[in-house]
């Protein structure tokens, strides 16, 4: 690899008519790194992935996959990428075992290697119970969760420089979600670069090394989770739950606020730990006056930063203090 990155995206731009789906997007994944690509529906995540695997041609910019120019030579680039798409993998008529072995064989594994690797990943994901059950075209045979895990295993079974996972945990139960994240972590430890496409911030925070937040086609934030939280040990998050029919702007905050995000009925305030006592006292008063339903004080989370960065909150953009920290 030329520069050591398994994925290097620079100034990537793609338009659909007058809509700019990707606007000068930059992204870099090194071997062993798990990078989360966060964004709402329509933020441009799928458009970005589609260009990496050669389904869409960019209007501008460059994509290098394992040192290969993915725009000039999409076929070679595709050999370097294993992708779990957001839609289900077409495994009707196959068992999870058969599907995972086929995926391994298509990536150059020998029959025996593919069989062993399929067994191993079935162990890791604990799907042996359904391993030899056939998926029926009517959607029967295997549940959506098992189909999703099979699709994940198909992307993760063979060693490839870059693994792209698009919402891999949809429909998956909590215990196997944890197993899936363990495999994702293991892929990174084995030396693959992983691009995790999701809108589930809480889950992403646990596994990713780096995060890129897309909003309306533009990168609005990038960095490690702690960098993105924009906070350190001195910061806390005060979450206030507003009444459904009585949304209060809550402008009379008695302590300095470094970031304020409004997400539907919740107001998330990032405050300095020194002001915790005063803030709690204020929140208790609000609650006793019936202006809020309740409150909670806790560590700053990535969700706050994400919501602030994507301008999710109606009034976030009008609050000047938060922009400086994201």
């Amino acid at each position: 690899m030329v520069n050591g990155a398994v994925l290097e995206v620079e100034n990537l731009t793609r338009r659909f008519g007058s809509v700019i789906a990707n606007d000068q997007v930059g992204l870099r994944i090194r071997p062993g790194e798990v990078v989360g690509l966060l964004g709402h529906n329509g933020a441009g995540k799928t458009t970005l992935v589609s260009q990496v695997v050669g389904l869409l041609r960019p209007d501008g910019g460059s994509i290098q996959v394992a040192g290969v120019d993915a725009i000039a030579d999409p076929a070679t680039a595709r050999r370097c990428v294993a992708l779990q798409a957001q839609s289900q993998a077409p495994i009707d008529g196959l068992t999870p075992r058969g599907a995972i072995e086929i995926a391994g064989r298509l990536r150059g594994m020998s029959r025996a290697d593919a069989r062993r690797a399929a067994e191993k990943i079935a162990d890791e994901l604990d799907i042996h119970e359904w391993f030899d059950r056939r998926a029926r075209p009517d959607g029967g045979g295997l549940s959506g969760g098992v189909r999703r895990l099979t699709a994940f295993a198909m992307a993760a079974v063979a060693p490839v420089p870059l693994v792209i996972l698009d919402e891999p945990t949809n429909d998956v139960d909590a215990a196997r979600r944890r197993r899936l994240w363990d495999v994702v972590r293991r892929l990174g430890d084995d030396g693959a670069g992983v691009l995790l496409v999701t809108h589930n911030v809480v889950e992403a925070e646990r596994v990713v090394d780096e995060l890129v937040v897309l909003d309306h086609g533009t990168v609005v934030a990038a960095g490690s989770p702690s960098q993105l939280r924009g906070a350190n040990d001195h910061h806390l998050r005060l979450e206030l739950a507003l009444h459904p029919h009585h949304p209060d702007p809550l402008t009379d905050i008695p302590v300095p606020v470094t970031r304020r995000v409004r997400a539907s009925r919740r107001v998330l305030l990032t405050i300095d730990a020194r002001h915790a006592e005063a803030a709690v006292a204020w929140a208790t008063t609000l609650a006793s006056e019936g202006r809020i339903e309740g409150y909670a004080l806790g560590p700053v989370t990535l969700e706050d930063a994400y919501l602030a960065a994507t301008g999710d909150a109606a009034d976030a953009a009008t609050t000047p203090e938060e922009t400086a920290h994201v």
Binding site: M1, P31, G32, V53, G54, L55, L56, R57, A66, G67, V68, P74, A75, T76, R78, R79, C80, V81, A82, L83, A85, S87, Q88, A89, P90, D92, G93, L94, G98, I102, R105, L106, R107, G108, R136, P137, P159, V160, P161, R186, D189, D190, G191, A192
Partner: protein, 265 residues
Amino acid sequence: MSELTVSTSPVRVPTGVPPRIGHWTTYRTLLRWATAQVGAMLPLVIVVQALLAAGIIVGFGLLIPDIDTPTAQFLATGAPTVLLMVVGLVIVPQGVAQARTSGTYTYLRMLPVPRPLLLLADLTVWLLVALPSIAVAVIVAQLRYGFGYTFDWPLLVAAAVLIAVMATSVGYAIAVSLPPLLAQLVSQVLVFFVMLFSPVTFPAAQLPTWFQSVHDVLPFRPAADLLRAGLLTDAYSASWRDLVVLLVWCVVGLAVSIRALMRRG
């Protein structure tokens, strides 16, 4: 029980581009995949073919009172062509349109394989689905009219394969070029055109002259005549012109399909 576990998993992922794998291995693996997908609906397809064969050979026969042997032969030897066209121009586009709607088509295009091999694997499977229809049609005709066939095996096999590939690739081309809903509509219209307005189960002489010339460049009459020459070799003969027309349609269908598979939007 040890308190400390030190894991020293070696780095398993090679750096750089994974090597290209052989086309033959890729093709065989894709074929296994495609067979599983289509195999699930295979029994249904064969039942539909048998019913269609009966419908054309027995049902169309009822429209003609006191049917004589040459007419019965013409009708019965046209039926296999209708069945091949139904598989290629109706069932294949429906399958592909469904694959496009469900995301399967996109999924397959993201695989690390040369995309023409995807088409080749699909064509192979559809060929295996389509070819039994000839036997089905021959058996149904035998049961109904009881006339004898005079097979020209090499011609029959070559014509059957060519027609099945032509119909499948044209059907595939329709399905990948048009929006899924429109593709399904076009394929429905085509089947009526083949069954009722194409000189497949009746002689071309029954059509107006201008419409006969249209059918000289469409693939349906050439397909029917070629297959008929393979089934009743003492009464009908093959024409090179028909062969060329079919080959041209086949090449166009393949070219359009491959282009659509390779295209980046």
